[in-house]
Symmetry: C2
Subunit: 307 residues, 2 copies
Amino acid sequence: MAISEKVELLIKEILDDRTHGASQLARQALETLKVAAEESRAEGVDQFWTEMEEISWRLMSIRPSMAPIYNAVKRLLAAISDDKYQDLDSLRQAAISEADKLIQSSVSAITQIAVHAADLIKSQDIILTHSYSSTVAMALRSAYKKHRIQVIVTRSGVGRTGQRMAWELNYDGIPVTFVDDTAMGLYISQASKVLVGADRICADGGLVNGVGTYLLALAAKEAGVPFYVLCETLKLDFRLKSSEVELEEKEPNEIAQPGILPEGVTVKNPYFDMTPLKLITGIINEHGMVQPPNLMTDLEKLIAQFG
Amino acid sequence: MAISEKVELLIKEILDDRTHGASQLARQALETLKVAAEESRAEGVDQFWTEMEEISWRLMSIRPSMAPIYNAVKRLLAAISDDKYQDLDSLRQAAISEADKLIQSSVSAITQIAVHAADLIKSQDIILTHSYSSTVAMALRSAYKKHRIQVIVTRSGVGRTGQRMAWELNYDGIPVTFVDDTAMGLYISQASKVLVGADRICADGGLVNGVGTYLLALAAKEAGVPFYVLCETLKLDFRLKSSEVELEEKEPNEIAQPGILPEGVTVKNPYFDMTPLKLITGIINEHGMVQPPNLMTDLEKLIAQFG
């Protein structure tokens, strides 16, 4: 089958992306399927389904650490697999409108999370964050409308996604301090709360997020600073436990351009790490916050209801 | 008084240095005083002393985090302050020969530490290290002569001193894996031991070392991986406790060149952090290893004997 150039481009953007969070990429995956539905030259329902399934499969496999892409695609396929779409036109229309609905519900989930997170933030709070998250950025923006806060932003790995966070927060007038990742252990003692996003929450509550998050969580625990994760239910992925998740790696030359290190040196460039549940103070999702000791059962209820 | 261009240059090198460890800079401080003694145009003992004290004061204040510079300069001044040097020539000669002796004893301390550390390393060990240390490099080289080992080297902050470590170890044929600092939490689980150098050990046993060392120590503790500090007695500095030490910061533009971040963002560039004694498995010095529970009293004995 022929996949249109536009669809190929959208898929490639998701594959190559270094700056966007997993929810944004999940929405782009839905957008990709929407465009594929619009542009499909399928001559019947079966051919249309084959196309959608092939693109879905590709979307689900290109960024394996990003559960939201898997969940979003799975939710879309479930929504249109109803037998009521017997003809091509109504199936195509259903795919387009369900993709739009899911994109909208992900956007409104983030808004709701921002509201819940902003409720938690108090005046004079100094928030430390690591690894760009559009959800965290929105939460900080909401909080800043009500309170005088400051934010400490880290470089956030070789992708330096912290720079984007610093630009966005600064644009809204929020006082930002920018530090290297190695300085997290020093600056945690100045912070009143840590807020990070999530790429995935695993079946045992393990948090997959931008590499370095685990070190920050250890430092926060040691300093007695609460560590909150902002995570829409789309990111709950109970298919795998922490130990079973394969964490994505990227090109070694992002870490060291050719010539910077001798040829014999092995360069590793992991993009994500795993933070165990015991280091997490609370997970803020679109329905509120779940916290220990009932965190896992509460997450399971959310999955049963919305997963 | 006139300080010669050569002496000014040596002082400036210490000030601007981003890659060498504190012992090497302490030896350069001694070398600086030796050159100053050689080139001095003082016309009498008093004038010579004034010159040496002024240069000593400058050397001790340019890199305040680096106790070895303070200790080395203090030891040299103590060695030549003896009343027996009544004439300029014998005082000048004493300054030169005592500087040489102290440089030699620092070099041999590192060799002895390397021997003690290499004894600790077993075949198949995977050693993780952070922040360049000539002592650690020598210990790994010694260990590699006896055992098949691998080393995981981190970028080590904005100065990227891990690159130098990777080059040196690779040159000696040691298998090296290079990772970003954010990946320390992931790679600690592959390591059998952590070996780091020191810039200073404080009065309460707190370790001042390249920023990020504290995060590595937290991760090592959590993973049950022993965390060893290689530290000559020249680096024991019981003048201050951890909380009283001012940790050096460098230029913000090392972190973000102009234009990379918006103007309103505050950029902080600390070069060192503080690792508390409770995260340290053992401190290997030229006389052997000191370990809890007697670590502090053993360190105090060393200071009384050699400080």
